[in-house]
């Protein structure tokens, strides 16, 4: 393996600027564990630096993703509320008829799943809104 291929660990934008000279320098250095560790740490810092400098997605994609997640969260919440109301209704009917309230386990699982989906959707939407706020001047 050519040592210059370690430059591929760096972000593409960084490689466009420093790639050839960095690769030439790597070819001059003897291969060692400390070299690998040093390059790995440098690549990690470069990725972190560029990810903080650049938006993760374009404004258009960001808006579309937020809208889809908001719809998913909203629909899931409505389903969960409807399932909870249906459960109460069925339980009341069973009680008034003198039967033991019996609800299939799938109903409870469905309700719990929808609540979880609504929570995850809401959290992702809030996260995306936060990212959008952070990168609002960069798109």
């Amino acid at each position: 393996m050519r040592r210059s291929s370690l430059a591929r660990l760096y972000p593409e934008r960084w490689r466009r600027r420093y790639g050839p000279e960095f690769g030439a320098l790597l070819e001059d250095e003897p291969l060692s564990v400390s070299l690998l560790f040093d390059v790995l740490c440098g690549a990690l810092v470069a990725h972190l630096t560029y990810s903080l400098e650049e938006p993760l997605m374009s404004t258009r994609h960001f808006r579309a993703a937020t809208a889809v997640l908001a719809i998913v969260a909203g629909v899931s919440t409505l389903f969960a509320l409807a399932a909870a109301a249906a459960k109460e209704f069925l339980a009341d009917q069973a009680m008034s008829a003198g039967d033991t309230p019996f609800l299939p386990a799938t109903t409870a699982w469905l309700e719990a799943g929808l609540f979880v989906a609504a929570g995850v959707g809401a959290a992702l939407t809030l996260g995306l809104l936060g990212l959008g706020w952070r990168f609002r001047h960069k798109t």
Binding site: Y18, E21, A24, S34, D38, V39, V45
Partner: protein, 105 residues
């Protein structure tokens, strides 16, 4: 006694070492590594070197020169020279104060 010179104290940060190296004239990466090793007894790895070069260039303290056979030399800017002078003056002030205290204690 410490086994390695670096164990006696933290070396200056890579950015200052690079500025000090370039104060002697433009150099490419490999020449900088060798010069810093002679100057401060510190071996900078390529990842550390280029991370610091990127930051120094972003801050306008150094500037790249045309590539010479895949190796790109860098040189100090006027701002880099001023910043290095300020840093070294701070080091000298600190060293003189510390040495004076040692002499009187």
């Amino acid at each position: 006694m410490p086994r390695h010179p670096a164990a006696r104290g933290q070396p200056p940060e890579p950015g200052v070492l690079i500025l000090a190296s370039l104060a002697g004239g433009p150099k490419h990466g490999h020449a900088m590594i060798a010069d810093i090793e002679r100057l401060a007894g510190v071996h900078l790895g390529p990842g550390t070197l280029y991370g610091a070069l990127h930051r120094l260039e972003e801050r306008g303290l150094i500037e790249p020169l045309p590539v010479d056979e895949l190796r790109r030399p860098y040189r100090l800017t006027d701002l880099g020279r001023t910043v290095l002078a300020e840093q070294l003056a701070t080091f000298r002030q600190f060293a003189e104060a510390g040495l004076a205290r040692l002499a009187t204690s």
